[in-house]
């Protein structure tokens, strides 16, 4: 039956590891694709980290490099055409790009799991849901068929699939979109990973179902104290669940901030533009604010700041010099924890 939930408590970011190193840290990651038309620089020096129990939202439009970064972490990029010329992906302090294939597989299979946008194509249509869920336990934990099935039912209960025991032998197409996404979540949870990467997990779902799935994900994250990287283009979804946000544009992080801060005082013109272009009640009948121009072609990223042709604040320096992602401070110079902006004019943007 439908529940009417009162105030939802915000999950507070919990302590990371035992020694203060973040759960996952991406350092100066570069990814390029070699295509017929030339080299597409999809990711150009991305840095971010996520701790246990924390939700990092990576926000960006298509082509911003948000999904490519995640695919690099999961090791599911097709190489070639993709290449990682530079960068580190550290899981609990160990660089996954330099470790042996065996070790990497262990981490990727058991410690980090991924949830995709399209649940139907991520599930094998000819195997029953129970079999696919149980497979994780048979392969990684050597359980018997019977035990694996019992575990599968338990997992399906966990993600609140009604009548799990009766539906364990059903096939993916017999489930609705929302239920399939729950199965994907169950699969990701099976081995109780430390980190989940969710790439647009609710984009393909209806609004009312979206809310169910996001709620479930947040609840499970709290329960297992997992790190969560949520990749999305939806400012609303981010505001609902994230602790901190990294905004990406043309393969770079242009702004990083705790969620409340970002919505209250954006420090990059791109973030500001995105927030301003959400229709608001008092704007009815007026023109919406619109970021002019088009997202950049990654084969021909503009020189200097990639956002400069679309930016209302652009000056000559923006066309020649790439701005670094630098810490953002209050007007009086006190540091704003967790905030950074890659804009030559961040001061004017945040305080002006």
């Amino acid at each position: 039956m439908t529940t009417i939930e009162e105030v939802v408590p915000v999950p507070s970011p919990r302590d990371g590891g035992t020694d203060g190193t973040p759960l996952l840290e991406v350092r100066d990651l570069h990814v390029e694709f070699h295509t017929r038309e030339g080299v597409v620089k999809a990711v150009n020096g991305v840095n971010y980290s996520v701790n246990a129990g924390e939700t990092l939202a990576v926000l960006g439009e298509s082509g911003s490099g948000k999904s490519v970064t995640a695919q690099a972490i999961m090791g599911i990029l097709d190489m070639p055409p993709a290449k990682i010329p530079q960068g580190e992906i550290r899981f609990r302090g160990q660089d996954m790009l330099t470790m042996s294939g065996e070790d990497r597989r262990k981490i990727r299979g058991q410690r980090i799991a991924m949830i995709f946008q399209d649940a139907l194509s991520s599930l094998n249509p000819v195997l029953s849901v129970g079999y696919q869920l149980g497979e994780m336990f048979r392969v990684h934990q050597g359980l018997s068929k019977k035990e694996a099935k019992a575990k599968a039912i338990e997992l399906m209960d966990r993600v609140k699939i009604p009548a799990a025991a009766a539906r364990v032998n059903d096939y993916p197409h017999q489930f609705s979109g929302g239920m399939r996404q729950r199965i994907m979540i169950a699969m990701a949870l099976a081995l109780e990973p430390d980190l989940i990467i969710a790439d647009e997990p609710t984009t393909a779902l209806d609004v009312t179902v979206q809310a169910q799935v996001m709620d479930l994900l947040a609840e499970l994250q709290r329960e297992y104290n997992m790190g969560l990287i949520l990749i999305t283009h939806d400012l609303g979804v981010v505001a609902d669940v994230a602790d901190k946000i990294a905004v990406m544009y043309a393969g770079r992080i242009v702004e990083r901030a705790p969620v409340h801060e970002l919505y209250k005082r954006p420090a990059h013109p791109y973030t500001r533009g995105l927030l301003d272009s959400i229709p608001r009640l008092d704007q009815k009948g007026q023109e919406l604010y619109a970021i002019k121009g088009l997202p950049p072609n990654l084969l021909r990223v503009p020189s200097g700041c990639a956002f400069n042709p679309r930016c209302p604040k652009a000056q000559d320096v923006c066309r020649t010099q790439v701005p670094d992602l630098l810490p953002v401070t209050e007007q009086d110079g006190t540091e704003l924890v967790g905030r950074a902006s890659a804009c030559h004019f961040w001061k004017e943007t945040i305080h002006g």
């Binding site: 039956m1 439908t2 529940t3 009417i4 939930e5 009162e6 105030v7 939802v8 915000v10 439009e61 298509s62 609705s176 979109g177 929302g178 239920m179 209806d206 609004v207 009312t208 179902v209 979206q210 809310a211 169910q212 996001m214 709620d215 283009h233 939806d234 400012l235 609303g236 979804v237 981010v238 505001a239 609902d240 994230a242 969620v259 409340h260 919505y263 791109y270 533009g273 995105l274 927030l275 272009s277 959400i278 229709p279 009640l281 704007q283 009815k284 023109e287 919406l288 604010y289 619109a290 970021i291 002019k292 088009l294 997202p295 679309r310």
Partner: protein, 382 residues
């Protein structure tokens, strides 16, 4: 199909629809004449009455027999007034896209009428139908599949003139196409390019230019921005609003993004499982919803404001939308509704102003198809 005849089923008696002034055209000439007559601003231009579309489910290979029907649209009535924007919202499978196809005459209605200036367009053919087509155009959701990849932009935007040669003389067409490109904010020199050389937002502008070519009176927009990047959506919405003023257009704007619908619409209809659950002005629907589905939908939308998540009450619906092939008896929302009672299972609520609000000078006094319609304060997106 006898079981679909209108007489043995209760119909929505909604004051939001006014009397249809049926034009009884005996000849094609009269029909075309009626279609080309101007309509005053604010007068009804399109009137939909008890529209139904049931897709038969069949079995058998050569000799098919019907084993059921998907009731994609199941008795929808509304008016569109000249110069206004009517928003239609709902989740996937609620029938909103099928309504668009029916209005465009791309699908044949199973029952019901669509009156355009008093003529039932579901019964027109020949020249009269062609004249209607000229006046009702469509903008599609996916700019990647709505443009023929083997045609140049000039051919795509010029095709309406090939089909309706009376609109623009042959020598004039290239100039007309270039004008249209300019109107939608594209460089007129792009005329010889192919669609794949453009980004999503630019393609949607090309689609809009094609829709404008014949100078239509109504444009039906089926999710026109949902496939676009966030930063480009606002550009296209602004363009559409500007064109509405410039060319005196009426829009039917179908979308699932509630905040965009609120921004652009004068009136909004909420659809659930082939029926209109609630319809009214944007303020009535968004600020004073009385149907539980509307309330749940509004509260489920993620709010782009992290402050809101601390102090908002959310209604989280359980379960999924039932299959339109096998809708619940009575009220189709009852399986997910927290207010459902026995009456809801036996008696389908009609779309009408709820008894308790009748005559009241309150924004809650608008059509809502619920036995227990009442206001509920929910914090929501738009």
């Amino acid at each position: 199909m006898a079981e679909l005849s209108k007489t043995d089923e209760p119909q929505d008696a909604t004051p939001n629809v006014s009397e249809v002034d049926v034009v009884d055209a005996r000849t094609e000439e009269e029909a075309v004449h009626a279609i080309e007559a101007p309509v005053e601003r604010g007068e009804p231009i399109l009137q939909v009455r008890n529209l139904k579309k049931h897709f038969p489910l069949t079995q058998g290979i050569l000799f098919k027999r019907q084993i059921g029907a998907v009731k994609a649209v199941d008795g929808v009535s509304f008016d569109l007034h000249q110069g206004e924007t009517l928003g239609i919202v709902g989740e996937s499978g609620c029938g909103k896209s099928t309504v668009a196809k029916l209005l465009m005459n791309l699908e044949r209605a199973t029952a019901g009428e669509i009156f355009y200036k008093g003529q039932d367009i579901t019964k027109l053919s020949g020249r009269a139908l062609k004249a209607v087509r000229r006046n009702i155009q469509m903008v599609f959701q996916d700019p990647y599949t709505s443009l023929n990849p083997r045609m140049t932009v000039g051919d795509i935007i010029g095709e309406p003139f090939d089909i309706h040669p009376e609109v623009a003389p042959k020598g004039d067409r290239r100039r007309k196409v270039q004008e249209l490109l300019d109107v939608v904010g594209l460089n007129p020199e792009y005329i010889n390019r192919y669609p794949h050389q453009f980004s999503g937002g630019q393609r949607q502008r090309i689609g809009i230019a094609r829709g404008l070519a014949l100078n239509p009176e109504i444009i039906i927009c089926d999710e026109p921005v949902s496939a676009l990047d966030v930063s480009v959506q606002a550009q296209v919405i602004n363009l559409m609003e500007r064109l509405q003023d410039e060319f005196n257009l009426s829009y039917i704007f179908i979308a699932h993004d509630l905040s965009i619908v609120r921004h652009i619409s004068d009136r909004v209809g909420v659809m659930y499982l082939g029926k209109i659950a609630e319809i009214g002005s944007d303020e009535q629907i968004y600020d004073h919803p009385t149907h539980p589905y509307t309330q749940a939908l509004l509260s489920a939308v993620p709010v782009p404001d992290p402050e809101a998540r601390e102090d908002r009450e959310r209604i989280i619906l359980t379960g999924d939308v039932p299959s339109p092939a096998n809708p619940p008896s009575g009220c189709s929302f009852r399986t997910r509704c927290w207010k459902a009672q026995e009456r809801c299972a036996s008696e389908a609520p009609l779309l009408a102003i709820p008894e308790r609000f009748k005559g009241a000078d309150s924004p809650a006094a608008h059509e809502s198809a619920c036995h227990f319609a009442e206001e509920k304060d929910v914090v929501h997106a738009a």
